[in-house]
Symmetry: C2
Subunit: 306 residues, 2 copies
């Protein structure tokens, strides 16, 4: 046995339950990338703290190993189960929040989600993005402005949403028309935009994998509150990736991915007036939604660690 | 927009950077399994604390998603990359320590490792488990006793180790003889055991996957310090899964999986005496190792959370 005096106890390189995270982190090379060292040391510190608080049995530890393995093995080119896990644990929203701390009054971000498609068709204001004719007609109109209320002309507004069955076009290729319920609009000289669509529906995130099983085990459902997605961009302004939510969705207070922010819940007014419908080119009754976007001037996100 | 007075702010179900972990954990059902609720709430708390301390960019978050995905996808029936990750982050040793808090004086556990094989050949004391004749001869002898020093007869001692090239038999099927360098011995009426073998060598853990890339990026090597594995069992005693380490291995203070404990470093005495070699049936020079195992009486592990 080595002499007990051959090393100062506090600097022992050997594993020790009390100093476990410290022993692991001391092993990293001084020459490694400084940011990676920082990230790993924080992860190891919290991971060990969690294990010490949980005190898992060997069987519980192995259940965790299997869950992490299965989650990785569920991923394919078109399914990202680890992003889903990040979403349902609120981590995606937290990372988004950390990276998009905006001045008061600016439209807040929420998560992008997996159904964004680049190069959606460009439309003139007033166009109808619902190509399958299913669902309750809806007219959305509003204004893009800066935080002082000045209109932002030529802002690009990309919108996408589910159809009346709760599916995105990319989930139902061959069933829905291509690019159904997605399009790009441009604000006019007064910052105004307007388009026609149908009221979005709530829908479940994929629940046939390890993440769905976890949700079921902790008594959570997989449903997302009904919403429209938007990305609003204009030169010189911080791009906004956001949703607007319907106020009457039963899943609003329990969105599976924590995407709802109180400031993103819109009013949806039901208009039962055939003449009003005729003026905007939809059948009555229809839903009328007025929603303004307020963009902050572009700046580096205010993160404590650059 | 919903009325701001419609919910008490402190109980808001909506995502909020400051209360993020609380909002996520409040979503679990009261009816879910109590232990799972506890485990998940601790994991979410520490995960969110780590994200808040790290403040990852979106790109860093996605690097983590890719790493977790790749680690799952590296796993096969014969390769468990998540256990490897647990090992190199010191989590496996921590879980082992939590589950095997023994009275002072008892032989401590260390990790089982992936190369244990059940039903190894049973040998009489004195047998040589080295079937390929490669390496420096070694004689191991010692005693199995309880913490009061009373001998434990009929204890089973399972031993396994690498050959002189640093590989286990199961890693070199068809190259090494079957069951090379593994066997089961039984202590005699005085608790004594003895066998012949060769001095073990250090070896690298598999480093061609995501875990190996992570180790390289943080400036760590993949080598395990040279050791013999033991499982020692006797009716009425807490089974011991442990190693003994050679004192001269350069990787002793930096074992890749943190398996080394000071109390598990043995003396390896080099004997250059042909007569002594002849008495024990090995060529001189040879290594002589004396190692006693002290077993604690079996009891539930002392974990704070049952």
């Amino acid at each position: 046995m080595q002499s007990a005096t051959s090393a100062v106890p506090s600097a022992s390189p050997y594993f020790d339950e009390a100093r476990s995270a410290e022993v692991v982190n001391a092993r990293m090379s001084e020459d490694a990338d400084a940011r990676l060292r920082q990230v790993m040391s924080v992860l190891v510190k919290h991971l060990h703290a969690a294990v010490k608080e949980i005190e898992p049995t060997h069987e519980e530890w192995f259940t965790a190993i299997r869950f992490l393995t299965d989650t990785g093995q569920m991923c394919t080119d078109w399914r990202q189960e680890y992003i889903l896990l990040s979403d349902v644990l609120g981590v995606s929203m937290l990372v988004d929040a950390i990276n998009h701390r905006r001045p008061s009054g600016a439209t807040p971000n929420t998560i992008l989600g997996p159904f964004y498609v680049a190069n959606a068709p460009e439309y003139r204001n007033g166009a109808n993005i619902c190509l399958d004719g299913k669902g309750e007609p809806m007219v959305v109109e509003g204004r893009v402005a800066d935080i002082n209320g000045n209109p932002i002309p030529d802002a690009k507004l990309e919108v996408w949403q589910t159809n009346d069955d709760g599916f995105y076009d990319v989930q139902q290729k061959g069933i829905q028309p291509d690019s159904n319920l997605r399009g790009v609009f441009t604000s006019d000289t007064e910052g105004r935009y307007w388009f026609k669509s149908v009221k979005p529906r709530h829908y479940p995130i994929p629940s046939d994998g390890p993440v769905g099983k976890l949700l079921a085990a902790i008594g959570r459902h997989p449903n997302r509150a009904a919403h429209l997605h938007f990305i609003v961009t204009a030169p010189g302004f911080d791009p906004v990736i956001t949703h607007i939510f319907t106020p009457d969705c039963p899943y609003l207070p329990e969105d599976a991915v924590f995407g709802v922010k109180r400031e993103l819940i819109a009013e949806f007014n039901k208009i039962d007036d055939p003449e009003a419908g005729e003026r905007v080119g939809v059948l009555s009754p229809f839903w009328s939604v007025s929603w303004d976007f307020t963009l902050a001037t572009s700046s580096k996100p205010t993160r404590a660690i650059p």
